[in-house]
Amino acid sequence: MIPELGHFALILALAVALVQGTLPLLGAARGDIRLMDLGRTAALTQALLVIVAFGALTQAYVTSDFSVANVVANSHSAKPMLYKISGVWGNHEGSMLLWALILALFGAAVALFGAGLPDTLRSRVLAIQALIGVGFLAFLLFTSNPFERVAPAPLDGNGLNPLLQDPGLAFHPPLLYLGYVGFSVTYAFAIAALLEGRVDAAWARWVRPWTLAAWCFLTLGIGLGSWWAYYILGWGGFWFWDPVENASLMPWLAGTALLHSAIVVEKRDALKSWTVLLAILAFSLSLLGTFLVRSGVLTSVHAFAQDPARGMFILGFLLFVTGGGLALYAWRAPQLQGGGLFQPISREGALILNNLLLCTLAATVLLGTLYPLFLDLLTGNKVSVGPPFFNATFVPICAPLFAALCVGPYLGWKRAELWPALLRLRVAFIAAVIAAIVAATAIDGRATLAALAFGFGVWLILGSLSEFGQRLVRTGFRLPPRASLGMTIAHAAMGVVVLGAVGTGAWNSELMQTMKPGDRASFHGFDVKLERVESLNGPNYVAERATLLLSAGGKSYTVLQPERRLFTVQRRQVAETAIHTNLLRDLYATLGEGDAGNGWVIRLYYNPLAPWIWLGAALAALGGFVSLSDRRLRIGAPQGGKRARTRPAVQAAE
């Protein structure tokens, strides 16, 4: 009965979302406060109903209720509890339900914390949020009902896609969705602002925390996904410029740009229509990512639940949301007046440079991702665009971005001098140059570009820290506001990521050797001995596991046990790598093809600074959260609310 309750709750949620998506809009246009207030009640009700639905599906998974088709297809009674729960969103229907849940929760959060918002703005934001919800709930109910029953119920289920049975991947989708869906709130704010015809400093202050929250979750989600790819795909790399990875990177880049441009709106009352556009784009790119993963128009290592029919629905939805938003933008945005001109050498000038570069990066990724599709359709040529393209385009654009990143915080608003700012960065600059020279001469003389990038990493960390240090000295060691502290952490974190990426990408070394049990090899001062290779039978795979003994100076150091699993149903081999880390480097082993007669192909990687990539991503998210906890940004902070209940109707600033 509980699955039916979930199903009914979902239907009710759709009905409530329809109300929430229409009446408050009408109220805002007419100035009817009762209709507007309906938005808050509806948002909370809708969230409650979707929570009930999600809870019902979770209950079906936890108790292994095999009368529910979705549970049969994706779960198994013998599965560990963690994967029973993560199985809820480890499939198309459940992940869409999770998406709807997060969407409803964000809507409820706006209703709860948005008391300080003007009534018209809040009701419009909630209505837009509900209209997006209508799309997802209708999609769920009409094409992907997670509560469908099977009769008679089978004795046991088919089990979850084995690739997803991994702690890294259990939490990757929820975090990513929190990021994707978080941008729906900024989208709703942008549309509401276009409807209101007004974008001002207060608006920017309300948008920023939501952007920041979404950005933090997206950063964590991408980091976790990259970590998963690193240890599961067995190629020693951490980023493969795969379409699905790119799909999550594009909203991140747009979101990062939005984060910065919203500051300009807040402080200088400028860049308004640009910021609104970014807010629309950040969410649109999130939807585009969903479309690319699920429709099967591009091939990818991640592609799951590919179905052209669903693809058509998501495309229609994407067109409705993005097309509607952009059409409204084309109509209303020209009326948003920006405040005054400003100097190129100033804080706002630096932020504009940041925006230009970030958007160029996003456009580069978009082009590289979709180019194979365009070319195939137009000419029938099959190409794949991979690391060489992105190394030649994406990486060079990062250089000016990183160079300017440390200088920006030194520049004052309105008008600033470049030279004094640079002088105060001289220590960081000299240290970065020394680091680059040391890297070029002592570590790896062939990789000049890597040495340069290493210098940039050091520059980012020291440049951010020196600004922080000098500010401390200037203010007599009073801790700066948390927003500024968060900025320092996030900026320095970029440096940590860069160092990790350079170490792993450029200075890694690899040993590939065919070994038979008893064979020895020498690798980075370690004596490696292949002890044995044994066959294992997993629940739905067959595997071979190698045992490698590593010793240094005659003393045993560690044991690495890489596996190679063959999942017969998915036609896919998965390398279960073995990694030993000491936070400065990873020792990484994979087992390749082979047999007892000829030996097995063993690959060993030595990846310097590899853990720093994920450490940096976590630090960046931490910086975002610290900034989010700043009082001035706290949602519902008492600012601007005074303007509430003035004339609500359209006030185009003409």
Binding site: G311, L326, L373, K382, L566, G597
Partner: protein, 179 residues
């Protein structure tokens, strides 16, 4: 007016992209396929010595018997071949399919030992020790499987192991239809 145009630009970009997406979805293209030039054409030359002792070598005549045939390139050192092996056994025993196996870059002794251990579904078996025939057939690795109709025309080309689904949805209808 020019300023207006600037604000419409994002919408136009979206329209262009969406057009491509819809085209791609409606055309039903498979992005994972690297294609096969053989489909619809006569099968390449099949001329390999027999894998099993004392049998005559394999020739083109086997592909033009008027009955459809399945040509499967395999090797004893290939793990995915292990995965698809039971399906071929089923096809041979239950459906009476004519399956021609070619051991690719595999020592005949090892391939024979492998077949002895797992069972031999191949009506005819060849040994392409040097990999020359595989080259003619456009092999990118093993396993690969070709469906050849009674007139010797290639109708389908699978790269990678065949699955239960391939058997049910493609191979069985092919065997019935091509008779």
């Amino acid at each position: 007016m020019n300023r207006r145009l600037l604000f419409i630009l994002p919408l136009l970009t979206l329209a262009l992209m969406a057009g491509f997406f819809a085209w791609s979805l409606l055309a039903g293209r498979d992005p994972a396929s690297i294609g096969s030039v053989l489909v619809g054409r006569p099968a390449p030359r099949l001329e390999v010595k027999a894998l099993r002792e004392g049998e005559p070598p394999l020739t083109d005549a086997l592909l033009k018997t008027g009955k459809p045939a399945i040509v499967n390139f395999f090797a004893s050192w290939c793990t995915p071949c292990l995965a698809e092996h039971p399906l071929f056994t089923r096809l041979a025993q239950r459906e009476g399919a004519v399956i021609i196996g070619v051991a690719w870059k595999n020592k005949p002794a090892e391939a024979n030992a492998w077949l002895k251990r797992l069972g031999d579904p191949y009506k005819f078996a060849g040994a392409d020790v040097e990999g020359r025939t595989g080259l003619d057939w456009g092999l990118s690795g093993v396993p690969e499987t070709y469906l050849v109709d009674g007139q010797g025309i290639v109708r389908r080309h699978f790269r990678g192991p065949i699955t239960e689904r391939d058997v049910n949805e493609t191979i069985l209808p092919f065997l019935k239809g091509a008779k």
